[in-house]
């Protein structure tokens, strides 16, 4: 890297106009990230006509700011309403919502903003130092490696539902079945489409998220609304305390790099990154039993990971012209219209653009942490909103969000079906996350499995060939059995200790 082009990039990024785009993009991203269904991909797509008249650098800055802004915003509704705004905010419901229910909503919002900020900074630093070697590392991921990565994600999420493992498996299987809807890419055969052309692209996982979380939550509350006492919910302080910070510090620092690396892999993205970092932290934590009950580190870790994943996703986009996520795919289209063709030549042909962009991400994260902390005081008021006002608004947003996905009323029926499914899950105490994650990764997982087997002419040995595969298999086994092993060791220790006590 050339120091002078870097500094030049910093100056360009700090130009008033560009600074304005960062703030607008970050703010817009935070808002769309918060609203269920309206994600960064939609926001960027809607803005494409606006970018037509813009300077390419500003357009790129604006679109990227929306993208990582949404990572900040996505967890707001996870924490306050138990309804994630996007796939990458699902993990934030695990501990963020319990924290809010314990009256620590303000602290939860603040710590997640700070975690996102640090995760973002780690990733920007990673981008500056490691963009090219990491891009080359990502290429080593073939169908076999992708399949194993997704298997790891699913096994990680199953291991979370300890105590109700069978229910977790059932939820995951339903999710995997739902992911088989639509055209089968390898053969072009239509599966479960019932002659409805709209279903040929499968069921959008965002409909599943909005239906199960948002609509399900509303329906569930409808059942219990009369029993809820009209107590004023505690909001708590808007800043976290020393102990919470002490617990979150290392998880945030560990999750940043994890999220960054997963983000660089095309197709993996924030959902997988946040899930893997959450389970990692839960498993190495000494207080793993507090995870799911409102542990601050359980919120901080995935928040750090998903934001750094969104920065990581820029690497394959800019160094190879390969979009790694839905949002970056839309960004690529917009950049091409502006006459910029991201790819291996971009760093040489237009270094000014690249370094301005990198610096804008750095500034953007600073702007966003300020925006989001300033918003905490306002957002926690949502908890004060009476249910009869709040829930209709959530329903309205859920339907609007669903419509923007593909402008089709058929999705409304799916939304309602998944809403009732979500209600059933809550009534019978099934974990929701395994289902949603299975819908997100299911179809890619299947296609990658079949591609891997096809490329090896039918031999399953393909899954044990590369060091990356072996590593992923070991991690998968660990994620399934580590909690059990730990439990055994702890029991033995306790036994041992009590025996010693007896002996003495």
């Amino acid at each position: 890297m050339d120091m002078s082009t870097f500094m030049q990039g910093l100056t360009t990024a700090l130009e008033p106009m560009n600074l304005l785009w960062i703030v607008i993009g970050g703010f817009l991203g935070t808002i769309v990230g918060m609203l269920p269904g309206l994600g960064p991909a939609t926001a960027v797509a809607v803005l494409i006509p606006v970018t037509f008249g813009m300077d390419p650098v500003s357009a790129l800055i604006l679109m990227a700011a929306i993208y990582y802004g949404a990572m900040y915003g996505g967890s707001r509704s996870s924490i306050l309403l138990n309804t994630p705004g996007d796939g990458s905010a699902i993990a934030a419901t695990f501990d963020g919502y319990p924290m809010a229910r314990k009256g620590m909503a303000g602290q939860a919002l603040a710590i997640s903003a700070v975690a996102s900020f640090i995760g973002g900074l780690i990733a920007v630093a990673g981008f500056i130092l490691l963009a090219e070697p990491l891009a080359n590392f990502a290429l080593k991921f073939g169908p076999a490696e992708y399949f194993l990565l997704m298997l790891l994600t699913l096994s990680a999420i199953i291991s979370l539902s300890i105590g109700r493992m069978v229910k977790g498996f059932i939820a995951m299987l339903i999710g995997l079945m739902l992911s088989t809807f639509g055209i089968d890419t390898q053969t072009g055969v239509y599966r479960f489409t019932f002659d409805i052309p709209h279903l040929s692209e499968g069921i959008d996982f965002l409909i599943v998220i909005i239906g199960i979380y948002a609509v399900g939550e509303v329906l569930y509350n409808l059942l219990t609304i009369d029993k809820q006492k009209k107590e004023k919910k505690k909001i708590g302080k808007v800043w976290f305390d020393k102990d919470q910070w002490k617990r979150s510090k290392w998880p945030i620092l560990r999750s940043g790099p994890i999220g960054f690396i997963v983000g660089v892999l095309p197709g993996a993205g924030g959902s997988i990154a946040s899930m893997i970092s959450y389970t990692t932290e839960k498993q190495i934590s000494k207080k793993s039993e507090e995870f799911g009950e409102g542990a601050p580190e359980g919120l901080a870790a995935p928040e750090s990971a998903n934001n750094s994943a969104s920065v990581g996703a820029m690497i394959p986009l800019l160094t190879m012209g390969i979009p790694g996520s839905g949002t970056t795919a839309v960004m690529l289209g917009a950049l091409i219209m502006l006459g910029i063709r991201p790819g291996p030549m971009l760093f040489e042909s237009d270094p000014g653009l690249v370094w301005t962009f990198v610096n804008s991400m750095f500034i953007g994260n600073i702007v966003l942490v300020i925006i989001n902390i300033a918003l905490v005081g306002l957002l926690v008021k949502i908890l004060d909103t009476p249910a009869k006002v709040l829930y209709p608004i959530i329903l309205l947003l859920a339907f609007i969000g669903t419509y923007t996905l593909s402008y089709s009323a058929i999705d409304f029926f799916l939304l309602i079906i998944f809403g009732y499914l979500g209600l059933l899950f809550k009534l019978f105490d099934f974990p929701i996350a395994p289902l949603v994650l299975a819908v997100i990764v299911g179809s890619d997982m299947e296609q990658n499995f079949r591609m891997a087997v096809l490329s090896s002419n039918g031999s399953l040995g393909v899954f044990f060939q590369s060091p990356i595969s072996i590593g992923l298999i070991i991690l998968t086994i660990l994620s399934l059995f580590y909690p059990l092993i730990m439990k055994l060791i702890r029991n033995r220790k306790r036994k041992h200790a009590s025996e010693q006590r007896k002996g003495a």
Binding site: Q186, G188, G333, S408
Partner: protein, 322 residues
């Protein structure tokens, strides 16, 4: 909250006042260009470019909106304009033909009024730069020897232009396309990643997906489906130069609902032919690596009939036919 309501009211008023403009015989109301795909994709960007150019050059005396109707590989959007009038156009491509041949749709080009073919991309066959295959002939001879020895990356679906252009190439070498193993990726970008990572031996994709990688010395394009060598890639031969009788355009066009009047067709012929003459359109094509391929309504109709015959043949040979 009050501000939001006010904002909505303003938007509403703006929408009302806009729709009141116009006045000639045609168009009498807002024009709608349907992109049968989600925002951000190729069809969407084509639709938005056409919208912008018609607007900027004051070619059409009405408001032009782009509407996204994704689903079913174009089916949802195309079905939508079938029952509309000449104010509703839709972007199309060869999927209009192949969807029907593959049995996934009842619609054919005969169910619409073709208005223009706008531009084309070319297909490219590429291998990693360190591949043992230095020429198209090397590669094809390997397929002849053992069709399963080299895996072919393609996306996002079998039966598309990427796939069928390859089918046309191998069958000239008497290789049965049914015996070739295709790995189907989600899109052109994924196909190139797989090639760079060495997970497939060769990819068939749009030229724009591999052009930069070729220039950067990371992949080698063995052949291009154009008639003449492409500007900027003078070192890459065409299929014809390599001895195969193949010119394979990956075109995109625009069409209207069935039963349009002569006047309406003439109207769009005039406007669209003027649009493709603008400098801005040249710029759009350059940015997208497209090439001029304009055909007016009647030429397009004839072109679509020829294409249907060719595709019918290729789909049958690929083993995907009904």
């Amino acid at each position: 909250m009050k501000k939001i309501i006010l904002l909505i009211c303003i938007l509403f008023l703006a929408a009302c006042s806009n729709s009141a403009s116009g006045g000639n015989d045609f168009p009498t109301k807002n024009v709608e260009i349907v992109a049968p795909a989600s925002p951000g994709g190729g069809w969407d960007l084509t639709a938005r470019s056409v919208q912008k150019l018609l607007n900027d050059n004051n070619l059409v005396d009405a408001n032009i909106n782009v509407v996204n109707k994704p689903g079913g590989g174009g089916e949802v959007g195309w079905q939508y304009i079938q029952s509309k009038d000449a104010h509703n156009l839709a972007i199309n491509s060869s999927l209009l033909i192949t969807n029907n041949l593959l049995g996934t749709s009842d619609l054919t080009h005969k169910d619409f009024t073709p208005l223009a073919t706008l531009a084309t991309e070319w297909q490219a066959l590429a291998v990693p730069v360190d591949s043992e295959f230095k020429s198209l002939e090397d590669l094809m001879n390997q397929f002849k020897k053992d069709p399963k020895s080299v895996k072919v990356g393609v996306g996002p679906a079998l039966g598309n232009d990427d796939h069928l252009s390859f089918v046309q190439a191998v069958r000239e070498y008497d290789v049965d396309p049914k015996n070739v193993d295709f790995l189907v990726y989600e899109g052109g970008g994924d196909v190139v990643t797989a090639l760079l990572g060495g997970h497939v031996g060769v990819v068939t994709t749009s030229l724009s997906e591999v052009k930069e990688q070729h220039l950067a010395g990371k992949v080698r394009i063995l052949a291009i489906s154009s008639e003449e060598r492409v500007e900027g890639l003078e070192d890459v031969p065409t299929y014809q130069e390599e001895g195969l009788d193949i010119v394979f355009p990956h075109w995109r066009g625009i069409m209207g609902p069935p039963d349009m009047t002569e006047e309406e067709i003439a109207y769009w012929d005039e406007k669209l032919s003027e649009m493709v003459k603008t400098d801005q359109w040249q710029e759009v094509m350059k940015n997208n690596d497209w090439e001029g391929f304009y055909k007016n309504s009647s030429e397009t109709k004839k072109f679509l009939e020829e294409q249907t015959k060719l595709y019918q043949d290729l789909v049958n040979d690929s083993g995907l036919g009904q």
